[in-house]
């Protein structure tokens, strides 16, 4: 639809076109910020490198096989994505409410689901730059060697893990929004316990079948397991499930989480409007 505004012709988007434009508009600040504000790169690389180094030295202290250094490095890389999902997806609508942006999102014609998807796309690009930096620095520091036998499976495992993970982040964003100031503590609580049950720094198989199965609801559990099997072609018994099964589960998780996020957002927006909680600020 075209309209006149101050003598200029403005194209008003609708439907899918509006969804698409809203998504990229929300992704834009994160993608541009990732390259414009380069000092973040130092801090967001340094902290994970320090953490990974600790785990690598522990493995060395107990004389673990060299492949475990790679396992720890890959786990450290994936923490960047998990932290991004927790702090910049799940908690984001809460931050936005605190800063007064949420009410602007709600008033604007763009759909909120597109805003969430934009956050996810921007977050993936932004965190991807950090993840590559961590991978490069740690691989060089600790002389990690990779043996990638099936690159297409590796790409599929990574892409589907990201889709499922950020789908989960979109779902969490709605849930955290209603949890008020506990959102901060929830995000804190979901760090180390998830590193543990998802096997960030060791093969998840070590936790036993049932724990590993329950932990598979977190997309990074099977995603990491599949990527380890594909990047370190060592002992095949270290994997929890065969790679094709893990990739299929990731696909299912992605569909389930994104669909659930859609319904949760609609429901919570309605509740928020009825109870006047969309603009409430509690500290």
């Amino acid at each position: 639809m075209d309209t006149e505004m101050d003598g200029e012709r403005v194209v008003k988007r609708q439907g899918l076109s509006l969804f698409w434009a809203t998504m990229w508009a929300r992704a834009y600040p994160r993608m541009v910020g990732a390259f414009r504000e380069r000092s973040w790169l130092f801090f967001e690389t340094l902290l994970p490198v320090l953490a990974v180094s600790g785990y690598v030295f522990i493995y060395r202290a107990i004389q673990a096989p060299p492949a475990y250094t790679g396992f720890a490095v890959l786990g450290g890389v994936m923490t960047a994505f998990w932290l991004n999902v927790l702090w910049s997806m799940a908690s984001q609508l809460y931050w936005d409410k605190d800063q007064g942006n949420l009410e602007i999102y709600v008033m604007a014609p763009g759909p909120l689901m597109a805003v969430l998807l934009g956050m996810a796309v921007g977050g993936m690009v932004m965190t991807g730059t950090r993840a590559v930096a961590i991978l490069l620095v740690c691989s060089l520091l600790f002389d990690v060697s990779y043996q990638i036998a099936q690159p297409l499976w590796l790409v599929a495992a990574f892409v589907l893990t990201m889709a499922a993970l950020y789908g989960m982040g979109m779902l969490f964003a709605s849930i955290f929004l209603v949890s008020g100031r506990e959102a901060w503590h929830l995000s804190n609580l979901l760090q180390e316990p998830i590193y543990l049950v998802s096997g960030f720094y060791f093969p998840v198989k070590a936790l036993g079948f049932w724990v590993a199965t329950l932990a598979s609801i977190i997309p990074l559990t099977l995603g990491l397991d599949a990527m380890r099997q594909l990047m370190f072609a060592g002992d095949p018994t270290l994997g929890f499930l065969p790679v094709p099964v893990e990739v299929t589960v990731q696909l299912v998780l992605a569909v389930v989480f994104i669909t659930a996020a859609y319904f949760a957002l609609a429901k919570l927006e309605a509740i928020g409007r009825q109870q006047g909680r969309l603009i409430e600020r509690r500290r």
Binding site: S39, I58, R60, A61, Q191, Y201, F202, P203, A206, L207
Partner: protein
């Protein structure tokens, strides 16, 4: 609050800026840390993270050694990680107090125009973190004794070494924490990273979870320049007795020498933290950063 009010009403406290600020800040810090949930949920939160953290190391160890928990390296790793909880809490705690006051609660301008001793206030804000950290350390160690048979026996613990070294260690850490907090006051960007970066570096370079000998030789001197290294060594010796001497890292130092080194760190860091605080406060005022809200 009734008890707190009675304490604050003691005349000597009311008229001593430093003591009053310290006590009120300690009470405030505890309220902020604990009042967001009911006590049960708060306890779960305070315990879950440290336990998960130590269990990561336990599983890593068990996978490689097939569960050889009786080896001397296991209590070294476990205890180092458990005690380090306190280090992380103190180092990052004061920085977060600055960030909370300035960015989240937006009360920094009121604090610095009120008749308080800002230096004592910062120390006080760290106290709640020390309390939570201490409880977590005790629970994690008890968990290790019960589940993994850590060789700690109450009768053989060297209590005097443990108490003196911990008092000196926490005092040195408090000095470092206030320095981190003061530096945070002067920053408009990356302020949240300061405490975490230093805590992460201390974790790596202080021999918390692996003997310092494993670090590249050019990095080892860094470990010897940190108070945490000596506190962890003294606390391990106090808790484990002769087993703690299984590693060569600081074996050449006697217990008294360890305490003397820690005392020297305290003698430097506490007065140093006051100087850094004064400089940081002046700089933050000069640059208009004292109550800045960046949303960063």
């Amino acid at each position: 609050m009734a008890l707190a009010q009675r304490v604050f009403d003691v005349p000597r406290l009311r008229h001593h800026d430093g003591l009053r600020s310290f006590l009120v800040a300690s009470w405030l810090g505890w309220q902020i840390e604990s009042n967001w949930a009911d006590p049960f949920l708060f306890a779960v939160y305070a315990i879950t993270r440290p336990l998960a953290n130590v269990l990561i190391l336990v599983v890593m160890y068990a996978v490689i050694t097939d569960g050889a928990f009786a080896q001397p390296i296991f209590p070294y790793i476990y205890l180092g990680n458990a005690l380090y909880i306190l280090v992380g809490q103190v180092i990052t705690g004061v920085s977060w107090a600055i960030i909370d006051d300035r960015e989240h609660y937006r009360v920094a301008k009121y604090l610095y125009t009120a008749p308080i001793d800002g230096y004592a206030y910062l120390f006080g804000r760290g106290v709640a973190r020390v309390l939570i950290g201490t409880i977590s350390v005790l629970i994690v160690i008890a968990f290790g004794i019960l589940l993994f048979r850590l060789p700690i026996h109450l009768r053989t613990v060297d209590w005097s070494l443990l108490l003196f070294s911990t008092a000196l260690g926490v005092a040195a850490l408090a000095g470092l924490g206030v320095i981190m907090g003061a530096l945070t006051m002067t920053m408009a960007r990356h302020f949240w990273s300061v405490g975490e970066a230093v805590a992460g570096a201390l974790y790596l370079f202080s021999g918390a979870i692996f003997p310092l000998d494993l670090l590249p030789s050019w990095l080892q001197p860094l470990g010897f320049a940190l108070p945490v290294t000596y506190w962890l060594e003294a606390a391990r010796r106090a808790l484990l007795g002769p087993q703690a001497h299984g590693f060569q890292t600081l074996a050449g130092l006697s217990n008294v020498e360890l305490l003397a080194i820690l005392a020297a760190f305290v003698a430097v860091l506490l007065p140093g933290s006051r100087l850094v605080y004064r400089w940081a406060l002046h700089t933050a005022k000069e640059k208009g950063l004292i109550d800045i809200e960046t949303g960063y």
